[in-house]
């Protein structure tokens, strides 16, 4: 196998990990006002992702860093081409991260209410925008031979991309609700379970529409498999959570998100940033890749350290495996 292909796969894996992991903590953040009745409920929800959200976000940092190292031209054109949406995402992530850490450190209701708004906006905005951007990635952007993206920010809000954004927002809400059903106990768990079951009815049509559209416009024959897997897994997840099989339901929504990511990267390949101006101007796995030496070095680093990272991150989930409950929540520190 050639190195650029390996690194395309590696970056797809990193993004998939990011969407699966931060997907549920975006969902939990957005659902904060929906599934809570008082401050203790909200603390239960926030503490369910408390120990892990920061580690989840590093998947993004690593995906972007790996893109910089392995496909500099992709990194440069994509980040400068998606300027304003990425600016919003970065600002959202800043606000959200600070909000988690600071909301419990004030004394007034108003202080907490304000930070809660930041958590909701800081979770919902990226949940929508990542879908919007990935859809645009698959769809392609206006780009000349100099690889400078000329699609305006208004052009990024096309029908297909907006559908993609609504889908990731809905999917992450569902994924987050299932996570809460799995990781909390008491009233939040019950509400999360009900929300997850019902929201499945709204998210499923979005998923069918988006995967169908994607498959029709740029899919390969084999990408029909992840498209179908995603739809089936989502339906299963919503059904299982209603029956109280929360562990299985969470596995199912994880598969649904991961399969969607496989569909996206499968449809993108062998391009990394297609040009709608002329396919000849597209950035591809081959013309955007770094030289073999860099890719070899990076491969060794990844082979040694990625399993280690997976190991200790899995261990941290194991340490915090117990459900977060109102009764066992200690005082804020």
């Amino acid at each position: 196998m050639d190195l650029p292909l390996i690194w395309f796969l590696a970056i797809a894996v990193l993004w998939t990990g990011y969407l699966v992991l931060e997907g549920f903590d975006f969902g939990v953040g957005t659902l904060l006002p929906v599934l809570s009745r008082d401050d203790t409920d909200r603390r239960v929800m926030i503490n369910s992702i408390g120990p892990v959200w920061d580690g989840n976000e590093v998947w993004l940092i690593t995906a972007v860093g790996a893109t910089f190292a392995a496909f500099p031209a992709w990194y440069a054109s994509m980040l400068s081409g998606f300027y304003l949406p990425l600016l919003l995402i970065v600002l959202a992530l800043i606000g959200r991260g600070v909000a988690f850490e600071y909301r419990g450190k004030g004394d007034t209701e108003r202080w907490r209410a304000n930070w809660d708004k930041v958590i909701v906006a800081g979770s919902a905005i990226p949940a929508f925008l990542w879908g919007l951007l990935f859809a645009n990635l698959v769809r392609g952007v206006a780009m000349g031979p100099d690889h400078v993206v000329t699609t305006t920010v208004f052009g990024l809000f096309n029908g297909y991309a907006v559908l993609g954004g609504l889908l990731t927002l809905g999917l992450f809400l569902l994924h987050g609700a299932v996570f809460l059903a799995l990781k909390t106990d008491g009233p939040v768990r019950l509400r999360a379970r009900a929300f997850a079951a019902w929201s499945g009815l709204a998210v499923l049509p979005l998923l069918v529409a988006f995967t169908g559209w994607t498959q029709a416009r740029s899919g390969e024959p084999w990408t029909l498999v992840p498209a179908l897997v995603s739809v089936v897994a989502l339906a299963l997840g919503a059904g299982l959570v209603r029956r109280g099989r929360e562990g299985w339901a969470f596995s199912a929504t994880t598969v649904a998100v991961a399969a969607l990511a496989v569909l996206i990267f499968g449809s993108l390949f062998p391009d990394v940033l297609p040009s709608t101006t002329d396919p000849a101007f597209s950035l591809t796995v081959d013309n955007a890749a770094s030289a073999p030496y860099t890719l070899t070095v990076m491969s060794w680093v990844a082979v040694v350290f990625l399993p280690l990272v997976l190991g200790y991150q899995a261990w941290s989930y194991w340490v915090f495996r117990r459900r977060v409950t109102r009764a066992h929540l200690g005082p804020v520190h």
């Binding site: 603390r43 503490n47 408390g50 120990p51 959200w53 920061d54 580690g55 976000e57 590093v58 940092i61 690593t62 860093g65 790996a66 910089f68 190292a69 392995a70 496909f71 500099p72 031209a73 990194y75 440069a76 054109s77 994509m78 980040l79 400068s80 081409g81 300027y83 304003l84 990425l86 970065v90 600002l91 800043i94 991260g97 988690f100 850490e101 600071y102 909301r103 419990g104 450190k105 100099d146 400078v148 770094s290 030289a291 030496y293 860099t294 070095v297 680093v301 990844a302 350290f305 990625l306 990272v309 200790y312 991150q313 941290s316 340490v319 915090f320 929540l329 200690g330 804020v332 520190h333």
Partner: protein
Amino acid sequence: MALDLARWQFGITTIYHFLFVPLTIGLSVVVASLQTAWHRTGRTEYLRATRFFGKLFLINFAMGVVTGIVQEFQFGMNWSDYSTFVGDVFGAPLAMEALLAFFLESTFIGLWIFGWDKLPRRVHLACIWAAAIGTNLSAYFILAANAWMRHPVGFEIDPTTGQARLTSIWAVLSNQQAWSTYLHVVAGSFIVAGLFVAAVSAYKLLKNADEREHELFRRTMRVGFVVTLVAGIVVAVSGDHQAKLMARYEPMKLAGAEALWDDEHGAGFSIFAVGDVQDGRNHVNLQVPGVLAFLATGDLNGDVQGINDIQDRLTAEFGPGSYLPNVGLLYWSFRMMMGLGMAGVAIAVVGLWLTRRGRLFPYRWQYRLVVAALPAALLANIFGWLLTEMGRQPWTVVGELLTANSVSPGVSLTEVAISLSAFTLVYAVLAVVELRLLVKYVKAGTATVMPYPEDAPEPERTDERVPAFVY
């Protein structure tokens, strides 16, 4: 114009980021050491100090993490031509930083915050050390990337694409600019952290709010002084090495920092100068003879290159154009860095002497001076970065790529203006919030993070489980 705004944004967001980074680097190790002391002795006092400074560390840590995200994105967003040119070389240490350091740091800090009552004590202690190691490791990778921009090694220019191509990762990671800068920056960070601990302790002693905390803060103030003193020695030694590297690889930066206009044999160290950039000379220049030559070459009679002569050489090598950095800014940044940094370390040294063998400061103004040493040390760090980064101009990669050719061609002035304003605004609000929270937790003292037992003297040793920090 978009170029200017992109530069302002890089300057503002990076300096802001570096207000939090030094504390994260240094304080992680201080907190880990305090917890190790508790683990070894079981003395409640150490646990109390760990939790108190640990809480302040976390308030600061959050800001460092979120402002760091911006850095990784803005290379691609605002500097896409730079990114395409350097990605093959520069991207590797960045990706390694994420994979080797950031995962370690963020996963184990989560385990440390929430794991107090869930992990065995020894494992919990290992978590803060893992986070501290991750933090200090991340500094190495990013500084190796930064050092490469100032002294590019281990690469070649691809003849077909015209882009930099990595030829030796070892050369990039063992670049002498990289490890020399690392020592200097990390030691500078430990000065900030040491003076942070000392300043907070001095403030508590000054206010004398809680009798029970008195002995604790007297000790932690001395801990802060010792950290500052040791780090100060490393800063001085590595700084001297940095000056020599600067003379060899970035003569223009050194000449600018010294307002030295012409090549000189046995050049003097400038104390105070008033120069004229148009004329290329100084009107006034108070010098200590031979000292600059010694700093740059290790020989009082060594040769140091001057701005005008370097300009001529660079024009001959790279074609017509101005290769002058902002000389006035470099000159004063250099002096502010050294002056404020030395003042901070001096306060720590005198403080250590005055508080020997259980003594306390005789005057209240002495506590206030220790508090003032903290912003001085932070400013010294900032001026150091101004010198380093502004001194590299007009290059992003010295001798290879000009800043003017690094910016994103497809990003409009409006877009950069929106982004610059948004960051400035959000960062200003967050700065106020963060500072107020720090002050609040310092004032509240150790009882908020670890309540004193009611109606009973506190036990000397603490062996039972400690409640976790939770959101």
